[in-house]
């Protein structure tokens, strides 16, 4: 159990970091849409529409890290499995 929690914590930490880095390492808040600008050539106005896109921010990185630390901490409550040798009578 101890080993499973530690591996899960490591996996979550790596996955969180990889997702955050892979999507541009945004230092702002997590966004679920991004603004797309299009120029109206007649008026010169830049129209704004929103396109659905998940862009993880520092809150995502923080939540993932906190979860990993929590799981690693919880693993400390479990004892490491030991091989018991029977004592000769």
């Amino acid at each position: 159990m101890k080993r499973t929690l530690q591996l899960l914590a490591l996996l979550i930490l790596l996955a969180t970091a990889a997702t955050w880095l892979g999507t541009g390492a945004s230092r702002g808040w997590t966004k679920t849409s991004v603004a797309v600008k299009t120029l109206d050539e007649v008026t010169g106005i830049e129209g704004i529409t929103y396109q659905k896109k998940f862009l993880p921010g520092v809150d995502f990185l923080g939540a993932g890290t906190a979860l990993a630390v929590g799981l690693a901490g919880a693993s400390l409550f479990f004892r490491k499995p030991t091989n018991r040798k029977q004592q000769p009578n």
């Binding site: 702002g28 808040w29 966004k31 679920t32 991004v34 010169g44 106005i45 529409t49 520092v58």
Partner: protein
């Protein structure tokens, strides 16, 4: 002078008067292409909060021969204000911030234009009017740029002839003046909201 000649003369004079003096035109700002937008920006410690609104409507009366006489009202639907973060979006529309359910519209009603300068088809000036946000109405003066685009409507909306009027304005407001979390979260969200408006209205002609 018989009746037919009298009618002909009256019609001729009316035609001359109409042709020699441009009449004020009414421009509708409900944009079929949904390009019209208002951008808002608030400073915050981690990153500035940037969003936009495209639910814009309203009517402006503008006379190209007398730009200073501009009047009208622009309305922004509160629910159309959008920020990319879903939690911030929920807070923005909620009762503690803009309360979109109780105050569904943000508006600016133009009263007078001062310091008017016109060059070609571009007029700049200081527009005074009533800005209403979250049920609080306050008279403010904002610098505006009006661009009159004669006969350009068909270039934007095929099969429609007419003119376009582009209005641009950048100005700050204080959220506390409009009862938006007064005295609250000043360390997390600035009290100054920077607004930027870029909208085009159409005046179709038969």
């Amino acid at each position: 002078m018989n009746l037919s000649k009298h009618l002909l003369l009256t019609g001729l004079l009316a035609g001359l008067a109409y042709g020699g003096q441009a009449a004020p035109q009414s421009f509708d700002f409900k944009d079929p292409k949904s390009v019209n937008n208002a951008i808002f920006q608030l400073d915050a410690p981690l990153e500035s909060i940037n969003g936009s609104a495209n639910g814009i409507s309203g009517t402006v009366t503008f006379d190209p021969e007398n730009p200073a006489a501009v009047t009208g009202k622009i309305i922004v639907t509160t629910a159309s204000l959008t920020v990319p973060n879903p939690l911030q979006n929920t807070h923005l529309h909620g009762p503690n911030w803009l309360d979109a359910a109780q105050f569904p519209e943000i508006s600016f009603e133009a009263k007078s234009l001062a310091n008017v300068k016109t060059a070609d088809n571009v007029t700049t000036g200081d527009l005074t009017g009533t800005f209403t946000l979250k049920g609080v109405a306050k008279d403010i003066t904002v610098p505006v740029k009006l661009t009159y685009l004669k006969d350009k409507l068909s270039a934007r909306v095929p099969n429609l002839k007419g003119d376009l009027l582009v209005i641009r304005a950048n100005f700050p407001i204080n959220r506390e003046d409009f009862n938006i979390q007064p005295g609250q979260y000043e360390d997390k969200v600035s009290t100054t909201i920077n607004l930027s408006l870029a909208i085009a209205g159409a005046s179709p002609q038969p």
